[in-house]
């Protein structure tokens, strides 16, 4: 394993060890955080008992739906925007602005529109994730060298063939970059929405546990979310790196 990776693992272990020591020594009090080994036990207990499985399934399931929607809409929108230069130029300054809009503020309005089911929070998760996908896909589409497009024309590829055989494969690492963001933002959207106004799901459970000083439930849930997000991110990142490495771009 590369030395950098070893260092990284060492640092993480060191950090966890430090937390353990600080908690046991009482420097970090029990109400704030319990020692990592207790957290680990709580996680195990929570998963084994299955008491929160429904909430976990709901949140992760909705996040997955939001992710897929964000990817589908995002890539399609990016392809469309990329063709019309004027639209692209007009929208460019606004992509960064989009992140500042408190979209979850529309949650109650969405409930009125869609009812009390899962749709409002899926909407929010999708809406948050779609911009990251659009920006990154546009970036990838930008980078397709014109000479490849000319090659496609000479080989008489149809529009669909060109998109499928040349454009999308070339832009794929960048699309994966957008996918990483979509994973994060769909989770943020779902969990954030559940914080605010839901009565079920992991966000709700975390908020409930916090208000009841129930660290034994809160921390395992938080760690679980982080682990899921981190795992998907790592997997997508590895795929992205492999694609880039094949092009000698890493």
């Amino acid at each position: 394993m590369k030395p950098a990776a070893l260092w990284r693992i060492g640092l993480v272990i060191g950090l966890v060890a430090l937390l353990e020591v600080l908690c046991l020594a009482g420097v970090i009090d029990k109400l704030t955080m319990q020692p990592p080994h207790v957290m680990a036990m709580d996680i195990w207990r929570m998963l084994a008992s299955g008491s929160l499985n429904a909430a976990i399934a709901k949140t992760l399931g909705n996040a997955a739906i939001a992710f897929l929607l964000a990817m589908a809409i995002g890539v399609a929108a990016a392809i469309a925007i990329h063709r019309v230069k004027a639209v692209r130029e007009a929208l460019d300054p606004l992509f960064a602005t989009y992140y500042a809009i408190p979209i979850f503020a529309f949650y109650p309005l969405l409930i009125i529109l869609f009812g009390l089911g899962d749709a409002p929070e899926i909407f929010i998760g999708t809406a948050l994730g779609v911009v990251g996908v659009i920006v990154n896909t546009l970036n990838g589409l930008d980078r397709v060298p014109r000479v490849l497009m000319k090659t496609a024309r000479i080989a008489r590829f149809s529009t669909l063939e060109t998109a499928w055989r040349i454009t999308l494969p070339y832009a794929s690492p960048y699309i994966l970059s957008g996918a990483k963001l979509a994973v994060a933002y769909s989770l943020i959207g779902i969990i954030g929405a559940e914080f605010i106004m839901s009565s079920s799901g992991m966000g709700y459970e975390i908020s409930f546990a916090y208000n009841n000083f129930d660290n034994a439930t809160m921390y395992p849930l938080i760690v679980l979310v982080l682990v899921v997000a981190g795992t998907f991110n790592a997997a997508l990142g590895r795929w992205e790196k492999a694609l880039m490495a094949r092009r000698g771009l890493v």
Binding site: W7, A86, A90, I101, A105, I112, I188, M197, A229, G230
Partner: protein, 249 residues
């Protein structure tokens, strides 16, 4: 005025008109029960800005945001430069930063509250962790994308390390750093706002949370409008500064 800036003004104007049209259209479809029209929102915003009780909230948010932004920028740039110039440190820490970027930081919110208590420091912390990571990541990329020939030129001219950073690395990396600053600005803003929503009795985030709970659509629309305007103006301003730095001609 150059042809391209006339064109971008025209595009911007068209875009705003289209957005307003969509907004108005949605309002007609959905009605007062869930939305307000553009006109109503503007009028209510004016009323809000005129009321005395609004300004302390605005001041609270502005303070928290200002501090969080300053911290994000300084820390983000420092981390970005440190990792961008040192290959090994980069290999160790960048994956951790990338993972941190993708973590739904809202899940860390309860932990931050436990650590910082219910005051302004929790908001500042929350805002900062949202903004510092993209700024750092963009800066790392910017520094690593600096054309090597510019660095070689600096060395040939015998520049000392500090001079190299300020006179070559920073100007060369500016355009991409600015892209990170624009996103960092927005994310710090939303982070600060989120920080205010749950454990504060002051600030725009509190007002927003309150309005959501009370189903006060006027306030929700007005605050969202204000925030979007502010973020949009800042983003355009930064973009403008970026363009001037890239081609000062």
């Amino acid at each position: 005025m150059t042809a391209s800036s006339v064109r971008s003004l025209r595009n911007g104007a068209v875009l705003i008109l289209v957005l307003l049209a969509i907004w108005q259209g949605l309002y007609w479809m959905v009605g007062d029960v869930a939305l307000r029209s553009p006109l109503q929102t503007v009028m209510f915003t004016a009323k809000l800005l005129g009321s005395d009780s609004f300004w302390p909230h605005l001041a609270e948010t502005a303070t928290a945001f200002g501090v969080a932004l300053a911290l994000s920028v300084v820390l983000g740039l420092a981390i970005g430069f440190a990792l961008g110039t040192n290959r090994f440190a980069n290999d160790v820490f960048e994956p951790m930063l990338v993972t941190a970027y993708s973590i739904p930081k809202i899940t860390l919110y309860p932990i931050l509250l436990l650590m910082f208590g219910l005051g302004i420091s929790a908001k500042i912390a929350f805002g900062t962790i949202h903004g510092v990571i993209p700024i750092a990541l963009f800066t790392i990329s910017a520094v690593r994308n600096i054309r090597p020939v510019l660095v070689k030129t600096g060395r040939v001219m015998g520049l000392r390390p500090f001079e190299m950073v300020t006179r070559v690395l920073l100007p060369a990396a500016m355009p991409e750093i600015f892209a990170g600053l624009r996103i960092g600005f927005s994310l710090t803003l939303i982070g600060t706002l989120l920080g205010e929503m749950f454990a504060s009795q002051r600030g725009l985030g509190f007002l927003l949370m309150n309005a959501i709970g009370l189903h006060n659509i006027d306030v929700i629309m007005a605050l969202t409008f204000l925030l979007t305007l502010f973020a949009g103006a800042a983003s355009i301003l930064l973009l403008h500064m970026n363009r001037r730095l890239q081609s000062p001609a």
